[in-house]
Symmetry: C3
Subunit: 127 residues, 3 copies
């Protein structure tokens, strides 16, 4: 269980870092709350954070269901770690040019689909 | 537990489908990242995804706490399945005309409130 | 476990209340879906809800991992309750003037960081 917990925490800390980088762009470019537009750097950092949030709601439950129900629990933290790497590539590309986000996005999406399939397999076997 | 896991996965897969439909509208109407406005079809698909995300953060924990603590655990996946149906109606109505979203939204909201009450009942009994 | 469940439910109910207040501002100021801009009162209420969502994805997993793995499980609901209070202050300040959100935001952020550190400590000890 500790490995799945560790990957969960790495994903949460990565997301917290992405959030803090949004706050930095907000200050740097004088984008005053509640605005969420106003400067491309801010908008890119904000979309990276939001897109990561949109995917964490999938990754965290799917990873834990895979850990609990799939016959090879170690697959859960491994796929979670692949998602983590995909997010790093995604952010690094996106803040330079949003059109280059494809590779990181694809790694993240494949990790999510693999986790959902493993969790579904484990669930159906246990019905 | 497998029924609650199954409904969780159905909700995650439904949400993933909603997300992919946003990507399709982004491509179809040439809405370039990081923009999240630009064409009504894209904006509607995006709001459906975001609203579903806003509610999944309630449904998933409330469903699992109901499963773990309420005296009738089967209520958890049943209410989760009602939320799933509400979301289907919500999306189908919203992409045609956002003003027609009320029925699907009401079913989803009632499922959420029922899950929160069952979880609260179970928690207070166990204090 | 019941204390951590109770704080989780309080956070979910608080977030549901924030969401309902967004719907009220939407009606009151005639902001028609899918728009998420149009009147400052609506935009502030909406940003409070979104910011709370952005943080709940951190708080809920970090609180449960702290409860499960940290040697003093009672720390989990206590820090979760501190986050709850921080969110109340955050919302009350934000809807009057977004520039005054700092105190509530700081309490919430410190609670999140403390939960992540406790969960990380517990996880590393258990590796």
């Amino acid at each position: 269980m500790a490995f799945t917990a560790l990957v969960t925490l790495l994903l949460l800390i990565q997301y917290l870092a992405f959030s803090m980088l949004v706050g930095r762009e907000r200050l740097r470019h004088g984008v005053h709350a509640p605005a969420v537009t106003g400067h491309p750097d801010f908008e890119r950092a904000y979309r990276v954070q939001m897109n990561t949030l949109e995917q964490l709601i999938l990754v965290i439950p799917a990873m834990w269901l895979t850990y609990l129900l799939f016959f090879l629990p170690i697959v859960a933290p491994l796929l979670g770690a692949a998602f983590f790497v995909g997010r790093l590539l995604y952010r690094n590309a996106y803040v330079k040019d949003p059109q280059d986000r494809r590779l990181g996005m694809a790694i993240g999406m494949l990790s999510i689909i693999a986790l959902l399939l493993c969790a579904l397999w484990g669930t159906i076997i246990n019905l």
